[in-house]
């Protein structure tokens, strides 16, 4: 039922803004992500109704409320299946998933891993703040072992998931990392992530000033370091090439994976951001469905004509009845 607007007008970030109040804490990194998303969608020329922003549950999971588009707030950890359902049923929509690190790497990890296998053409933006914001600061799977944020009664007893490595092992075909206070770079990466044909994963380092007093704006800015230099640098500035293209030989692919692995493990005084992986050699799930269902793109599930004007079913099952017919 997607109906094209009659005279597609030029969209701006404003078109994606809404007036309802934002209820994040002052200084929350989420603000930067929201703003970048609005800018990115505008830059990509999407109309609000062509976009579904699908969210998990958490502070991060409120992002879609602050955005003019189809906003789908799902269940904790379940963003990916819902986003997948929307995209597969209406392949014309631009689907962007947003959610927290607890949501995505904890309760939602089975979907994370298995979505990688499908490579549906959509984008996952993970708000990596290393805590469970909305439930008051418990350790998220992204918090390293032994660290103790101010919200924890004791040092973290569980280890850390390296979200980039997990995305790679799961088969995401585009993997990037950004920092929520560098909105310009964030927009650049979001645009690339959304443009990527396949499942893209953008890990956004997102300070939570309320609960996470370790990974703060100051810390990322390197204020604690001798040189006082920002920790985050841009991989692409270094000439890091993330592209795996079709037909690349195994050795080259291994090199890419090794480079990826090395960069994905870099953390501390220098933290890489940018595009880590851009694998163009894998078909999207939509392409795979099209192979089995030739009418998939011309008559996607959301628009199939299932009834005639009198409300009679249009399905003609006679060939199947024939197959089952015995007399």
């Amino acid at each position: 039922m997607t109906t094209a607007t009659k005279e597609p007008k030029k969209v701006t970030a404003k078109d994606f803004q809404v007036s309802s109040p934002v209820d994040w804490c002052p200084g929350c990194g989420d603000f930067g992500i929201l703003s970048a998303l609005q800018q990115s969608l505008a830059r990509l020329g999407r109309q609000p109704h062509e976009v579904a922003v699908v969210a998990g549950i958490g502070c991060s999971g409120k992002t879609h409320y602050y955005l003019n588009a189809y906003g789908v707030h799902t269940l904790h950890g379940r963003m990916l299946p819902y986003a997948t359902g929307i995209k597969l049923a209406n392949p014309e929509m631009t689907v962007v998933g947003v959610g927290g690190d607890g949501d995505g790497m904890g309760i939602g990890a089975a979907h994370f891993v298995n979505s990688g296998r499908r490579n549906v053409d959509m984008t996952y933006i993970l708000f990596n703040n290393a805590v469970y914001g909305l439930t008051k600061g418990q350790a998220a799977p992204t918090l390293p072992l032994g660290l103790q944020t101010k919200s924890l009664p004791k040092p973290n007893v569980q280890g850390q998931i390296n979200s980039l490595m997990l995305a790679m092992a799961s088969g995401f075909t585009w993997i990037g990392r950004a920092y929520s206070y560098n909105v310009k770079h964030l927009v650049e990466l979001m645009v690339k992530a959304i443009e990527h044909e396949g499942l893209s994963y953008l890990d956004v380092l997102q300070p939570c000033p309320t609960y996470n007093n370790l990974y703060t704006k100051d810390w990322f800015a390197g204020k604690d370091l001798a040189g006082g230099m920002p920790r985050i640098y841009n991989l692409q500035d270094e000439g890091y090439d993330p592209v795996i293209s079709e037909g690349m030989d195994d050795t080259e692919v291994f090199e890419k994976i090794n480079a990826f692995t090395q960069k994905a493990h870099e953390w501390g005084e220098e933290i890489p951001a940018g595009v880590f992986l851009d694998n163009r050699a894998i078909t999207t799930f939509g392409e795979r469905i099209s192979e089995q269902v030739p009418t998939y793109l011309t008559q996607p599930p959301c628009r199939r004509r299932i009834a005639d004007d009198r409300g009679h079913a249009t399905a003609d099952l006679s060939s199947i009845f024939e197959e089952l017919r015995i007399t």
Partner: protein, 656 residues
């Protein structure tokens, strides 16, 4: 149920037979049953098959009951005329279930196997059988079982299948291993020959089984001829006078099982998106859909169902629920453990008014329970799964035809009332194979409910009030992707445009709006879709039931009628909204009111009491995972009518 107590409901014309074939899983029991069923159907007979198998891939015991008749069949028969066995275990398990005058076909190699050498025979069964045989001074072996059967008027026919295969190999000039592939056919053919069934239909069945594969067909045709020869020439069938003959009336029939009927119903109803996670006994439906996902449409176009295997049931539900928001008719299929994982999503669909259909194939519970056996123990989960209150439609089918139409209608309910629908099937029904007339597509109507039009429903643009508070409770819904209708959806309580809210007034309005849809559904859905009355509508003896039990009850009612007892059956089809008014009226004159359910707790009777206050005087229950037979039900009803029955009458049969 005591041994030897055999209520003889043998069908007594020459167009009726109850046949059982048993053997290890993976050995071809299913395909033997398929050939036999086809042969009978081709001869113009109605066929009903029942399949029992273990949660195992190879080796454990499975069996298939095929009942054929020129009359309508609604239920399997648990006392069979003819038992064909592939191994010793089948002899041990089923010798007791053959009627007097019936016959057992067995392989020479299985003639004298000690019970304690039968690998998979349950220790309990082995123990009880041993005791029983010892009581009759018989050895604890298949020889003992055969002797016992003979002592009870059953014919036993020994065939040296190895030798037969050897002969066949010689005739065909083929290696023995190849010839051995016809074993199933041989077994079927021996059975057919024994009852004098017209061989041409067996031949035709082979052609239907392997369409286009002439070499295989030819080989099997030879096997059939050989089998008929052997029966004619080498068996002494003098004491055996059961016959089966074709009627040759060839009305148009399709042959399928319950899960296929549901799949077809879904396709008829416009299913466009199905996500699923494999689980017995639900998988078959999705596999069938996948195999038939592309089809034509009457307007010359083509239809298709996108079928996605997910990583778990949570995902299966979520994908379909989300897909339903785009306007695609969406569904998933699962069984109890899967639904347990979906109930969080059910609440989400409820509060977001998402029209998703869940087909629930009930199996034995609790937990992993009896994965391949039947039960009706998930009604409560279907009715109450999920936190908090939200409306849902719950319906249950009782036979293949109903399954087809209900599966289509479920989407209409889902979209008209914009709420999740659970369509209950039970394993007995889903695995029941049957010949039925091809489903008539004409009665299948598509009602999409209230879909918003941007110009009509949101003329000023801006956030679309998807959850507008209306008198009926139904609000025009926007399909994701439509220009001019953007809004939010959320599992949190929300305002009309779908923003999370904790405002107490908006909360009350939305809660009440949602729940009003149940009243609307209750008032709109016609009586016939809520319940069906069978038998004598004036009868005081009233049975209340649902799902696959219907078949057995109808036959048992026929048996009662022969005894001069009038009875009626209230078959409940809609459990939510519960047909409170309608049932209250109907049960007023019930005396006694007897619930018949395949569960320990009689969940429909619970619901009845909750909604009407009326408790059933008797509960006829079965919860060993096997379907009820007419014989068992008849016995229970007689017991109740005789005044001797306790409140709970449990149907037990240790030989299933």
């Amino acid at each position: 149920m005591g041994l030897g107590r055999r209520l003889n409901n043998v069908d007594d014309t020459q167009h009726q037979l109850a046949w059982r074939v048993g053997g290890p899983q993976g050995s071809g029991v299913d395909s033997a049953a398929g050939i036999f069923s086809r042969a009978c159907a081709l001869g113009g007979l109605n066929v009903l098959g029942r399949r029992e198998y273990y949660s195992n891939i190879m080796g454990r015991h499975s069996y298939y009951d095929v009942r054929v008749s020129d009359a309508e069949i609604t239920c399997h028969r648990d006392r069979v005329d003819l038992l064909t066995t592939f191994e010793a275990e089948s002899l041990a398990r089923h010798f007791i279930s053959v009627v007097e005058g019936g016959a057992i076909v067995f392989s020479e190699k299985d003639e004298d196997t000690p019970l304690d050498k039968i690998t998979y025979l349950d220790p309990r069964a082995a123990r009880d059988l041993t005791a029983m045989l010892e009581d009759s001074d018989l050895p604890a072996s298949t020889a003992g079982t055969l002797e016992y059967a003979r002592g009870h008027g059953v014919n036993t026919f020994r065939i040296d299948f190895d030798a037969v295969v050897e002969t066949l190999a010689e005739r065909l000039g083929a290696p023995q291993a190849i010839a051995a592939r016809t074993l199933n056919t041989l077994a079927v053919a021996v059975s057919c020959a024994l009852v004098g069934y017209e061989v041409e239909y067996v031949h035709e069945a082979l052609a239907k089984t392997w369409p286009g594969r002439q070499k295989i067909i030819d080989m099997n045709v030879s096997a059939v001829s050989l089998a008929y020869e052997i029966v004619r020439d080498s068996l002494d069938t003098s004491g055996f006078d059961i016959e089966l003959h074709a009627t040759r009336s060839r009305e148009s029939r399709i042959f399928l099982n319950g899960s296929q009927a549901v799949a077809l119903g879904k396709m008829a109803g416009g299913l466009a998106f199905q996500s699923y996670y494999p689980i017995s006994p639900a998988t078959d439906e999705s596999v069938f859909l996948e195999a038939h996902q592309n089809f034509t449409t009457k307007d010359g176009g083509s239809g298709a169902v996108v079928v996605v295997q997910t990583e778990d049931e949570i995902s299966a539900f979520g994908m379909a629920a989300a897909a339903s928001l785009t306007g695609a008719r969406s569904s998933t299929a699962t069984s109890g453990p899967g639904l347990a994982l979906m109930v969080e999503g059910m609440g989400w669909a409820g509060i977001n008014e998402a029209p998703i259909v869940v087909t629930l194939y009930q199996r034995g519970g609790p937990s992993t329970g009896l994965p391949t056996r039947s039960e009706q123990g998930d009604l409560n989960l279907a009715l109450y799964g999920g936190s908090g209150d939200f409306p849902r439609i719950v319906l249950a089918s009782s036979d293949l035809t109903e399954s087809f139409y209900d599966a289509a209608q479920a989407f209409n309910y889902a979209e008209r009332y914009q709420t999740p629908v659970v369509h209950l099937i039970d394993k007995a029904l889903s695995s029941q194979t049957q010949t039925v007339p091809p489903f008539d597509m004409d009665p299948v109507r598509i009602e999409r409910g209230s879909i918003a039009d941007p110009e009509r429903d949101n003329p000023d643009g801006g956030d679309f009030p998807r959850f507008r508070v209306t008198e009926s409770g139904v609000s025009p819904r926007s399909l994701l992707g439509t220009a001019g209708l953007t809004h939010w959806t959320t599992g949190g309580e929300h305002t009309e445009v779908g923003r999370v809210t904790e405002d107490p007034v908006v909360r009350e309005q939305q809660m009440e709006k949602r729940m009003r849809k149940l009243d609307l559904a209750a008032s709109e859905i016609p009586l016939a879709e809520k319940l069906q009355v069978y038998g004598n509508p004036e009868a005081a003896f009233t049975l209340l039931s649902w799902g696959s039990n219907k078949g057995g009850i109808l036959e048992a009612m026929d048996m009662l009628k022969v005894d001069g007892v009038e009875a009626r059956l209230l078959q409940v089809r809609l459990m939510s909204p519960f047909p409170r008014e309608e049932l209250s009226e109907l049960i007023e004159s019930a005396a006694p009111l007897v619930a018949v359910e395949s569960s320990f707790s009689a969940q429909l009777a619970q619901a009845l009491r909750q909604h009407t206050g009326r408790a059933c005087e008797h509960l006829v229950l079965k919860y060993n995972g096997r379907p009820m037979s007419a014989r068992e039900l008849y016995g229970a009803f007689k017991e109740i009518l005789g005044g001797a029955a306790e409140r709970r009458v449990v149907l037990r049969n240790p030989y299933e």
